[in-house]
Symmetry: C2
Subunit: 190 residues, 2 copies
């Protein structure tokens, strides 16, 4: 399950809660940046060298990857497909560019399982109020997030589901229903 949406919509909280309830696991990404204190290899990230990362790009091992100010980030196909084969749902909290790459993945299992959710703010005004209300960021940082949000929300029609954020409890009930519903689908093959 790919989950995208501007920051301030609560999408990461939704993903975390689903994992805490044991309904799914978070995808563990790879990165070439150095581990921060307390970060565990294989849990927070798979820490790779630049050479290893680039070689894996060459072998087409990544589902999606990006270079952010010289540090590489990416999700291995094998990590996702190994879990799917074991019947475990995998969440990917990624931006709209990452989602474009996942959508283009030619793995049949991934395409059969892929579900894309876009979490939308009730309105951009409300998003602004939420981000400002956090009080953790400067007015400039909030303005930048708002500009990014305005660009990002244009992408919702390419997703399978649009979840317009309301109250936290309602959002979670609706988010979880996307997973629960799919588990009851009668396979087309029957």
């Amino acid at each position: 399950m790919v989950v995208s949406g501007p920051s301030g919509t609560g999408k990461t909280t939704l993903c975390r809660k689903l994992c805490e309830e044991g309904e799914a696991i978070f995808s563990v990404s790879c990165t070439t940046r150095a581990p921060r204190p307390g970060e565990v290899d294989g849990k927070d990230y798979f820490f790779l060298t630049e050479d290893d990362f680039v070689a894996r790009i060459g072998r087409g091992e990544f589902f999606e990857h990006a270079n952010v100010h010289g540090r590489r980030y990416g999700t291995l196909k094998s990590y996702v497909t190994d879990n799917l084969k074991r019947g475990i749902d995998v969440l990917m909290d990624i931006d709209v560019q990452g989602a474009v790459q996942v959508r283009a993945c030619d793995d049949a299992l991934v395409q059969r399982c892929l579900t894309q959710v876009f979490v939308l703010p009730p309105s951009l005004d409300e998003l602004n109020a939420r981000l400002s209300g956090r009080g953790t960021e400067s007015a400039e940082a909030v303005a930048l997030r708002m500009k990014n949000a305005a660009d990002e929300v244009e992408h919702w029609p390419r997703y399978d589901y649009a979840l317009v954020s309301g109250s936290r409890e309602e959002d979670y009930a609706r988010f979880k229903s996307i997973l629960v519903e799919q588990r009851m689908r009668v396979p087309l093959a029957v």
Copy 2:
């Protein structure tokens, strides 16, 4: 939403609760049997004369209809489509034969909205225990219900969703998720 399944699976309770919460309405059927004390025309049933009912069959007005020991029962297409056009979800608690007729309906709006749920008992042994446990029916009546159930459950692969009954609370959460999930689907037309 068409809901089928053997009696004893709690499907009627699931439908009722969804209606009580205002998420959907029950479809009101037509019948040629006489109203029982307290029954209200247009609420419990639409009470029709035999001639009227047969004329409506001739005009293809029914979604599904059946003749049970000389009394006719049926659901009008217009009742369902009028509600769907107003954005109201309609529940039909009908048997597998009725579902076959609904599936064959050529109304485009109905086909676009149609969702079929089959509520399965965890096992036939468990269903037997539940039906016997009610204590409201003779052993013969339970045996007949069990025989019907064994025939009915063969039909689940033709439905969109299979809900295997567990606890009442879990069943309801899963049942409701089928409706909730669909309301978040990004229309294919976008």
